[in-house]
């Protein structure tokens, strides 16, 4: 808050938190200090923005207060910004979040990745039957546009263009997703590696998370809000979905698979809460029916090269050995369109430029999409992603 030794001229500006007689506590972005007032200011109330000018006496400041602004509501306002940012510790968490984002960028920059920014308004937001998008209003011309649910199609087009290592931190939008682990608008860290497979991307993921933890927390042991501490140092455990069903649900995945609701119910109730409790785990080899944009496994065509990482029961990312066969991709997109129609959901168009880029040719590649808000939440040990964003959706 203040530099220089005792007796030096000093200046500080902030809010009055407490004022009594000849003393006032002034709070600025860095902390709070006492100001001995000469003359006293009986006219000032908590909440006033002031500047104090005087001498620094080693433990407090002595001087005069100048009024900069008065709040027009009782301070602190019950649903106000001061409470949201300062009294809840949100400001400190936002500082940590900014350091974590810088650490993510430093990691990819050091690995030779190019940071890209692809459009947020796109002709198709993706056809996954369980992801819903926001449609954009007020467009010029007849083209429909939606907000991205992930930048996947656009980034893969860059692979066809010859970019080999790309990443971005993208704002993504998913309709109807609200809860402690979901905000309708959130930040995705997404990256792609050409001439690489699903194993390379899993290695990227574990080294990235360990790097961010070391750079911002000083170590790899984190204390999530729920459960025991977790060491995120590589290597993380690898567990197939098939083995996870055997181990935690006591059933064969293939027996459950025809009933998709039962599959996801067991996943949500019996499996996910137990994953990544001591160290993170990659759940790998998902059923081919849930592959979306992943390629099928060369050893076993009933499963695909898709993985999700779990830390303390929280799903952190979803990665693929990318499907690069345009015919197979089109079949799956059409299947997803039919599934959406059968569910009574809006049927988004197929992004023809994306399919064309597969026809033009994409090298064998791997990619991953990691929820940055969840990563920050886990590293800081907060209960909800809403605790680590500047303004949660509910406060807009």
């Amino acid at each position: 808050m203040l530099a220089g030794g005792a007796g030096n001229p000093a200046w500080v500006a902030g809010r009055v938190l407490q004022i009594a007689g000849e003393r006032a506590a002034i709070c600025d972005e860095t902390g709070t200090l006492w100001v001995e007032l000469d003359p006293p200011r009986p006219d000032l109330e908590p909440g006033a923005w002031v500047e104090a000018r005087g001498r620094w006496l080693g433990t407090h400041l002595q001087g005069t207060l100048g009024l900069l602004g008065l709040p027009r509501r009782p301070f602190p306002a019950p649903d106000g910004e001061w409470r949201s940012l300062r009294e809840s510790g949100r400001l400190q968490r936002l500082r940590a979040r900014a350091r974590m984002l810088a650490a993510v960028r430093a990691f990819f920059d050091d690995e030779g990745f190019l940071e890209v920014e692809t459009p947020t308004m796109v002709p198709s937001p993706g056809l996954d039957p369980h992801l819903d998008a926001y449609r954009v209003e007020g467009l010029e011309g007849a083209d429909a546009r939606w907000l991205i649910t992930s930048p996947e199609y656009q980034m893969k087009r860059l692979l066809a263009g010859g970019a080999e290592r790309i990443y971005q931190t993208a704002r993504c939008f998913r309709r109807g997703e609200r809860g402690p682990l979901h905000e309708p608008e959130f930040t995705m860290v997404e990256w792609y590696r050409a001439f690489a497979g699903v194993d390379d991307v899993m290695r990227d993921t574990e080294t990235l998370v360990a790097h961010v933890a070391r750079a911002t927390l000083g170590g790899t042991t984190i204390a999530p809000a729920h459960g025991a501490s977790v060491d995120v140092a590589p290597p993380w455990e690898r567990l197939t979905v098939r083995d996870a069903f055997r181990r935690y649900a006591g059933v064969e995945m293939d027996a459950v698979l025809p009933d998709e609701e039962r599959f996801f119910r067991l996943l949500v109730e019996a499996i996910e809460p137990r994953l990544g409790r001591e160290r993170p785990v990659f759940l790998t080899h998902w059923p081919i029916t849930m592959a979306s944009l992943a390629r099928s496994s060369p050893e076993d065509p009933s499963v695909c090269e898709r993985f999700e990482a779990y830390v303390a029961g929280v799903e952190l990312c979803n990665g693929f050995g990318e499907l690069v066969d345009p015919d197979e991709q089109r079949l799956r997109l059409e299947r997803d369109q039919r599934a959406r129609e059968a569910m009574g959901k809006p049927v988004y168009p197929i992004d023809e430029r994306f399919v064309a880029s597969l026809e033009e040719g994409i090298p064998p590649s791997g990619g991953n999409a990691l929820g940055f808000d969840r990563l920050v939440m886990l590293l800081l040990g907060t209960e909800r992603v809403q605790d680590v964003v500047a303004l949660p959706y509910a406060r807009l």
């Binding site: 938190l17 902390g31 709070t32 602190p76 996954d128 369980h130 809860g179 682990l181 996801f264 119910r265």
Partner: protein, 187 residues
């Protein structure tokens, strides 16, 4: 008919003819799979809490409960006595059923008492109550820790976080839905 979009904290529903209230409801959605609501539900008669997972869109049966305005009279041992302001009937509610609301009861206060099939199962105090501070530290002590609040104990035993300028003897407006400090009341 209600459905899972009603699964918010406080929603009352019937399971096996028993009234349950939603304590916690969490939207969960695995990867690219179906959405569910993972809930904690409190049996409004026994107080037992159960875990249930509902598929997004699933139908639910709403619990029909009746609310009556009653006056809080006094506490007797572990139970609290209320009087119906219309019929003058008296009834007792246990501390367990009152839960955190015990901290908001002031003599002669009017509250809404919830009845299920004629039996009291809960109480809703006024949204805001005014309580006096009985203990709190003098406030800012010269550190620069960045703390902008401190704990204060109120006349009913409730402990809340308050701004530094609050002193013993101050009267504070408390939001009974969240248990949080709203503002200092003058006079």
């Amino acid at each position: 008919m209600a459905d899972t979009s009603d699964l918010k904290k406080g929603f009352k529903m019937l399971i096996d003819k028993q009234p349950y209230q939603v304590v916690e409801s969490q939207f969960v959605k695995p990867g690219k799979g179906q959405a569910f609501f993972r809930t904690k539900l409190k049996n409004m008669i026994t107080g037992a809490v159960i875990d249930r997972t509902y598929k997004s869109g699933e139908k639910l049966e709403k619990a029909d409960t009746e609310e009556r305005t009653m006056q809080y009279l006094y506490a007797e041992g572990d139970s609290y006595v209320f009087m119906d302001t219309q019929s003058y009937d008296q009834l007792r509610i246990s501390a367990e059923q009152l839960g955190d609301n015990v901290h908001y009861l002031l003599d002669n206060m009017e509250v809404d008492v919830m009845l299920f099939e004629g039996r009291p199962i809960g109480v809703t105090p006024p949204t805001f109550v005014v309580l006096e501070v009985t203990q709190t530290d003098p406030g800012f002590k010269g550190d620069t820790s960045g703390n902008t609040t401190k704990p204060a104990t109120l006349s009913t035993g409730l402990v809340v976080n308050v701004p530094l300028f609050v002193n013993v003897g101050d009267k504070l407006k408390i939001d009974t839905r969240t248990g949080q400090y709203v503002e200092r009341v003058k006079g």
